[in-house]
Symmetry: C2
Subunit: 407 residues, 2 copies
């Protein structure tokens, strides 16, 4: 079994967090100066560990292992959310680096190779999981040409400035790997609330997004009698309220749904709103529940449209497929967790998206969670206890070894 | 009976609309260069009509009539909303000017004097009905010192630039007047929908505004289980929906209510909202209905707070008192309307605020409406048929004469 050095992992995480440090967190958007410097630093660490590093045309950093006969691809992303946490993404990359070192140090693991990877732009500054999609042939040149950041910077320009433009994009050879493994902070408080220390991800949720537009008639809030009004906001709050009620009735045990974005036009106290819009999102690992939710949403929108006096329209925005994690990988992660943290682990879905859902389309994949303090995520106060970081990397290494050794 | 010249009224309205013309409307904010020029132009017209004009320290333009023994104060405001209509306010001021001329031309009306007034800032660029409140001793120097425009310009500075600073503010001597009369466009579509041409205002609504704040807990929309959420937006849409339902049950025949402004924080599709706020407004001429609505709102907020999981707080923003128009004035306006437009008039509340509600606190006051095409208001497309403008001024003059002649 590989022996990891938890202190070295924490030191490397702290060093990586220097790139773009913001308070106790990190501000390191994809292709920013600190992000490019961090990727260079990671490539150097991969080389130090005896690998052939490559930073490809989309910014993925991969450490190639020439000598192994069986290989596991292991990693996560290295950019952060704006003013984000120091571990989100970084933890899985440094875990992968540590696995490389631990495997190399153990003669019993000869021939078993970890190839670490730091994906580019999982956080979606310019797109949606650009790096892992590029690696799995799911990102076209046309999409790259059209992509831009939220503040309007072209992806092509960002790649030129980063120095990545013109480089080939590395592509997956599935025959090269036994599979893909990713460690990540939980980003929620399920483990924290139960006092557990390791999460074995059974699936990554599909995320379905819809946009609801209510069209009424803008009017003066003093001179327009109630019976003449077509108040778009009144129709929207009624519909939103029914959506929450109905979804609660048909939800599975871990379905989540959110109406997080509501726009009222003109949103002035003395004007009857003429237009109101909202985004309705739901997530589940079960495709049938996602489809059921969509049908229920359609029914409620149709009812609202029929009830009048406003027009109500529903448009799909995006539907990502749920991704099941490999059952064999789950079992081996679970055994490793039981060895080091008996009865302090659980199987659970990932409610957030991860590069593993992209890789899972092409090969066997697995994911492991460590707890997030108070469940805080995408914020500079995000953190994880040092003992959980240290425990996690050993469980992860044991699981990787077991996966590579399994025939 | 006075004889008005409708063509002259329309010509004057068109001339006044040149000050700040915007498309077919007018952009003439209070104390802007075109507003100051328009007030000067009005003062000159008042002088031409034989009056002693004064522009006072807040920008009110008043035409003093030295000779009359019984006087009626007649007017409206002369600034406009941003990119507003050409008649809103202006119509009532030019009607007042025409009444001055029509009365002066009729020897039978000797001794009966119209004093025309163009109030400053009814539209609230710097405050709330500054001119009429100044005139009725309801505007303190402290409030003037603190007031600023929505874009942060100090009222004091605006008054200096307009050339009004340092002038005395004219104050009402109630003994000088029989009462106050104001003509205005309806700003709604009640007259238009019924084909009527004159509205006799029975009261101006009180407008009560409340701010509702829902405090929950901001969380990740993927990793936070439903049972752990405190979704402020979900609580808000449920409460807003109940407010609409409950208000509909207890409303009077002309009560109106509006939830026109909703703020969700952070208003992002994948974040459970931690905070949600809304403004709840209702209007009625009946104080008891306003008080009933406030009680119902308090009950619903308390229920929402008890139901949890979010905190819900209610804060009053403003409560203006309804203003009854003088019943005797209403009757005389109605008789004049019946003479010139039989069965094409109605008594109705004003759902919008007007200077008349301020004047009504100090003396008998009356208001008359002419129709607004399609009910459009506070927009540069606002308009009224020429024949309605012409009819309106004659009805208004007859009513004014009847009021002045009544003992």
């Amino acid at each position: 079994m590989p022996t990891t050095d938890g202190g070295r992992v924490v030191d490397d995480l702290k060093r990586l967090a220097e790139f773009g440090r913001y308070k106790t967190g990190v501000h390191r958007p994809t292709y920013s100066v600190p992000d490019v410097a961090a990727r260079q630093w990671l490539a150097e660490r991969f080389a130090e560990a005896g690998l052939d590093p490559v930073i490809d045309g989309i910014g993925n950093v991969i450490g190639r292992n020439r000598h192994a006969t069986r290989r596991l691809l292991v990693g996560s992303h290295s950019e952060t959310q704006p003013h984000g946490g120091w571990l989100d993404g970084a933890l899985g990359v440094i875990y992968a680096l540590e696995l490389v070192r631990a495997f190399a140090a153990d003669p019993a693991l000869a021939g078993l190779g970890i190839e670490p990877v730091a994906w580019a732009d999982e956080e979606g500054h310019y797109g949606n999981m650009l790096g892992s999609r590029s690696f799995t042939d799911a990102l076209s040149e046309a999409e790259i040409g059209a992509a831009e950041s939220r503040d309007g910077k072209k992806l092509r320009l960002a790649l030129v400035e980063a120095g990545y433009a013109g480089r080939p994009r590395e592509r997956l050879d599935p025959a090269r790997y036994v599979g893909y493994l990713e460690a990540h902070i939980e980003q929620g408080n399920t483990l924290g609330a139960s006092g557990e220390r390791i999460g074995i991800v059974d699936g990554i949720v599909g995320i379905w997004n819809f946009w609801v537009t209510v069209s009424g008639e803008q009017n003066h809030a003093g001179t327009t009698e109630m019976r003449r009004r077509k108040d778009a906001a009144a129709a929207l709050v009624r519909l939103a309220s029914r959506i929450h009620d109905r979804f609660a009735e048909v939800a599975g045990p871990r379905t989540v749904w959110t109406i997080g974005r509501i726009l009222i036009d003109p949103n002035a106290p003395s004007i009857v709103p003429g237009r109101a819009e909202m985004q309705v999102q739901f997530r589940d690992t079960d495709s049938e529940i996602l489809a059921l939710f969509e049908r229920e949403l359609q029914v409620l929108v149709t009812e609202a449209e029929r009830a009048g006096p406003c027009d109500v329209a529903l448009a799909p925005l995006s539907k990502s497929a749920p991704a099941a994690m490999d059952p064999g990988f789950q079992l081996l992660i679970e055994r490793a967790a039981e060895r080091h943290a008996p009865r302090q682990h659980r199987r659970m879905p990932s409610g957030a998206g991860h590069d593993a859902q992209i890789l899972a389309r092409r090969m066997r994949s697995g994911m492991m969670f460590v707890p997030s303090l108070k469940g805080i995520s995408h914020h500079w106060t995000e953190d994880t206890k040092v003992e959980d970081i240290v425990l996690g990397v050993q469980v992860f290494a044991d699981a990787a070894a077991a996966i590579l050794e399994a025939r």
